[in-house]
Symmetry: C2
Subunit: 437 residues, 2 copies
C-alpha cells in the first residue's frame, strides 16, 4: 500500500487482467513514482502490462494529468494575451517551428515554446537555434516571462521543473521496450505543452518513410488522441497529418535549416515549408482567438511574413536569447562546412522515391545529429536537397549538395542511392494528408 491508500500491486494486476483504472488511481500512481515512493520495478511491470493490454482515452488523459502534476505549470494570463504553440512528431528538414513561432507572435499570440533536441534521424529545434552564435536555450522562468511579455516568443529547452515525471518515465520506457504506444506518447507530448502554458496547440503528425510513423492510419490515430487529450486538459487543439516521404524544404542540417528559415521569414524559401507554416499558423491563430477562422488566420500569417513583422519578432528573440542576429543577414554569417560535394544523378528519369529516413541518418552519420543523447552536434554539416518527388532529372544533374567537413565519397554514394530514378514517377504526394479539427 502506498501512502495514498492505493495498492500498487493491485493496480498492476488490474492492468495485467485488462481491468480499467480509475483516473485518480493513475494520478496517484504517477505522483508516487515522481516522489520516488513507487519503485521503478513496479512502474516497469505496469508499463509492460499497459503496453500489451492498452490504456483507454480516460486513462491516457489521467496519465497526462499525472505527468503534468509532477511539476510546475506556467500561467501567462497576467500578460493579457492568448498563448499558443505547435508540436511536430519529427521529420527530416522540418524547420517550421523557427518560422511559425515568430509568425504567431507577430499576430499577437504569445508562444512559450519548449522544444527538444535531435535524436536519431530527425533534427531538433534547439540544435538548429544553437547554430546561431551565442543563442541560449536555457532561460530562468523569470527570463522566459520577461521575454514573452516583451518579444512575444521564446524558444527554450525543457527545464527540470516541467513535468519531471515524464523524463523519468521515458527513461524507464526506453530500457524496458515500452516506447511505441500512442497512449504513452500522447501524455509525454501533451503534459509538457500544457505545463508550458499553451492555451492552443497545433500538432503536425508526420507519416511516411522519413517519419517515426510510416503509416497514415497510425499517424491519424495519434493525431486524434493528441487532439482529444489536449482538449480534455482544457486547451484548444487541432492537428495536421502531413507527408514525410521526402525532406521538408531543401535544407537538412542545423545551420543550413536556420538559413532556410531566414529565407522564409524574409518572404522567400521553398514553397512546401511556406505552405505548411501557413496551414499550421492558421490553426494556431484561430484557436488562440486572434483570427475568426482558418482563412483569416492564414491571411494574417501571410501578412506577418510579407510585412517583415515575423522576421522582426525572430531577430528580437535571437537577440533576447543572447544570439547575434546580425550574422543572419550575411550569406557567410552562420557556421558553414568547409567541403561541398555535389551528388549527381546517375541516370536520366523521374524521381520516383526518396529514402528520407536514410537521408536523415546520413546527416547524423556526418556529425549533424545524435545517436545518443550525450553526442555533440556539428552545426555546419548537412545537405541541400535539389530534387523532389516527381521531378525530371538528367544524368549528371545535381540531386543534392552535401556540406561536410571532409571529402566523403561514401556519403555521396549513399545519398545518391537514396533517390530512386525511374522512367516515370507517380504524382507527387500531397503535403497535408488530413486535418483533424
Amino acid at each position: 500500500m502506498s501512502a495514498d491508500g492505493f495498492d500498487v500491486r493491485e493496480l498492476i494486476r488490474a492492468k495485467r487482467d485488462r481491468r480499467a483504472h480509475a483516473p485518480d488511481q493513475i494520478r496517484a500512481f504517477v505522483a508516487g513514482f515522481a516522489r520516488g515512493d513507487v519503485p521503478d520495478y513496479q512502474v516497469s511491470a505496469w508499463l509492460m502490462a499497459a503496453f500489451l493490454n492498452g490504456l483507454d482515452a480516460a486513462e491516457t488523459d489521467a496519465l497526462t494529468e499525472g505527468l503534468l502534476g509532477s511539476g510546475r505549470r506556467f500561467d501567462w494570463s497576467a500578460l493579457g494575451r492568448p498563448t499558443a504553440d505547435k508540436h511536430s512528431t519529427g521529420g527530416v528538414g522540418d524547420k517550421v517551428s523557427l518560422i511559425l513561432a515568430p509568425v504567431a507572435a507577430a499576430c499577437g499570440v504569445l508562444v512559450p515554446m519548449v522544444s527538444g533536441r535531435g535524436l536519431g534521424h530527425t533534427g531538433g529545434t534547439l540544435d538548429k537555434l544553437e547554430s546561431i552564435p551565442g543563442f541560449r536555450t536555457r532561460l530562468s522562468p523569470e527570463a522566459i516571462r520577461a521575454q514573452l511579455d516583451r518579444v512575444g516568443v521564446v524558444m527554450v529547452g525543457q527545464g527540470p521543473d516541467l513535468a519531471p515525471a515524464d523524463g523519468k518515465l521515458y527513461a524507464l520506457r526506453d530500457v524496458t521496450g515500452t516506447v511505441e504506444r500512442d497512449y504513452f506518447i500522447v501524455p509525454s507530448i501533451v503534459s509538457k505543452k500544457i505545463a508550458e502554458g499553451a492555451g492552443a496547440i497545433a500538432y503536425d503528425v508526420k507519416c511516411g518513410n522519413g517519419a517515426f510513423m510510416k503509416d497514415p492510419g497510425a499517424a491519424r490515430a495519434l493525431a486524434l488522441r493528441l487532439v482529444a487529450t489536449t482538449r480534455a486538459l482544457g486547451a484548444k487543439a487541432a492537428a495536421l497529418v502531413t507527408d514525410m516521404s521526402q525532406p521538408l524544404g531543401e535544407a537538412v542540417g542545423n545551420a543550413l535549416e536556420v538559413r532556410e528559415a531566414v529565407a522564409l521569414l524574409r518572404g522567400g524559401g521553398p514553397s512546401d515549408v511556406r505552405a505548411l507554416t501557413l496551414d499550421l499558423a492558421a490553426l494556431m491563430l484561430r484557436d488562440a482567438g486572434v483570427a475568426a477562422d482558418v482563412g483569416a488566420g492564414r491571411a494574417a500569417a501571410e501578412r506577418a511574413l510579407a510585412s517583415g513583422a515575423a522576421w522582426e519578432r525572430f531577430t528580437a528573440m535571437v537577440e533576447a536569447q543572447g544570439g547575434d542576429a546580425k550574422v543572419l543577414d550575411r550569406a557567410d554569417g552562420l557556421p558553414s562546412a568547409p567541403v561541398r560535394v555535389t551528388v549527381a544523378a546517375p541516370r536520366s528519369g523521374a524521381i520516383a522515391a526518396i529514402d528520407t529516413f536514410a537521408i536523415g541518418e546520413r546527416v547524423v552519420a556526418i556529425g549533424g545529429g545524435r545517436r545518443a543523447a550525450a553526442d555533440a552536434v556539428d552545426p555546419r554539416v548537412g545537405m541541400i536537397v535539389r530534387a523532389r518527388l516527381g521531378d525530371t532529372v538528367r544524368a549528371g544533374e545535381p540531386l543534392a549538395e552535401l556540406h561536410t567537413v571532409r571529402e566523403d565519397a561514401e556519403s555521396a554514394l549513399r545519398i545518391a542511392a537514396c533517390f530512386t530514378i525511374a522512367d516515370t514517377a507517380p504524382a507527387a504526394p500531397a503535403l497535408v494528408i488530413e486535418r483533424i479539427d
Copy 2:
C-alpha cells in the same frame, strides 16, 4: 548491452512481441540478474511480458537452469547411495514429508530435503519441525553432508547459496503481480530441488478448495510441467495430483501435526496420510533405483513403517539436528495449547463439504501460521478435525477440537461454519486423482 553480449532491451522486446528466447539468452539474463548487472526494472518488465505472453517448455527449462546456476549445487555421489526427495505444492494438514523422508532413508535412499516455512493458509515443514524443542533447521553444508552420510536424511531450510536468484526473482514477482504462472512456479521449485542434489523427485500437486490450485486441470498441467522440467535437468520425476478438498489427516497446526506424524511413524495414524505417504514413497523408491517398480517400492515403505526402521531414522535425524527425541514418546512432550474448544455439529446430517481454505486461514488467525514472512508462529495452536467428507454426524457431536491459547467463541463459530452438513452427501472424493509417471 550486457557484458555477455546480449541486449536486455531486445530480450524484453522479443517476449513482448511473442518471439521465443534461445535458452542461452535466458540463462545469461538470469545470470546477469543474479550478479546485479541486469536491473530490477528490466527484469520486472520481462516478467510481465512473459506473464502475459508465456514461456514454452524449452524457455521454462532454461529459466530453471539459470536459477540453478546462480548458486551452488550439491553433489552427493561420493556418498555412494541414490538420492531422492519430494515436493508438495502445499495444503492443510499436509505432514507427509515428516514421515516420507525417514521412510525413504530407511529404504537406503539419501534424502537431502530443503523445505520451506508456512505462508498464507498452508503450513510449512520447517515450522512443524521447530515445534520439537531444540530442533535446528539451519545447518552448514559440512553438517548436512555428515548427517546425510550417517543418518540418511536431513531436513533444512534453504541456505543463501542455493539458487539465490530464485529468492530475488520471487521477491520481484511478489510485488509486480507476476506470481501465478506455471512457467515461473516450476523453475522456482525444480531449481532448488536440483540444487540440493536430489536425483529423483516425487511431486504432490494438490487441488481443491484447500490448495493453491482449485482446479484439477490446472493441477495436472503444473504436474506435467514439473515432471518434464525435472527430467530435462537430468533427474527422475513423477507426480501425483491429489485432493485437497478436506484437510489431510486429522491434525492441523505445527505440534499437532508432528504428533500425528509420530503416530504414523509408529504404525498408526490416519489412513489417508498413510496411503498418500506410501504412494509417494513407492515413486521415490522406484525412481531412486532401490525398488524395481511401484509395487515393490510400496512394500518396502510399508516394511520401513512396520519394522520401526523409519521411526528410528526420524529420531536419529531429530537428535542429529539438536532436537529432543525423547519428548516425542510422551503424550505431553510437545508444546501443547492450554485451551481446548470442541466445535459441535449444529445439526444432524452428512458432511457434504469442508471449507479447507478457511480452516487453514483460521489456524493462521489463532497464531499457528504467518500472514507475513516475518510473523512468529505459535507451535501449540491448531485443531484436530474429527469429521471427514461423507461422514454422518449427529447434532452435538464434535466436528473438530480447537487448540488455542484462550477461550475463542468466534473461532469456534467460524470453524463450525466450515462444515456443510446436508441431508445427504456426495461420495467422498478419491485422494489420488491422477498419477503423472
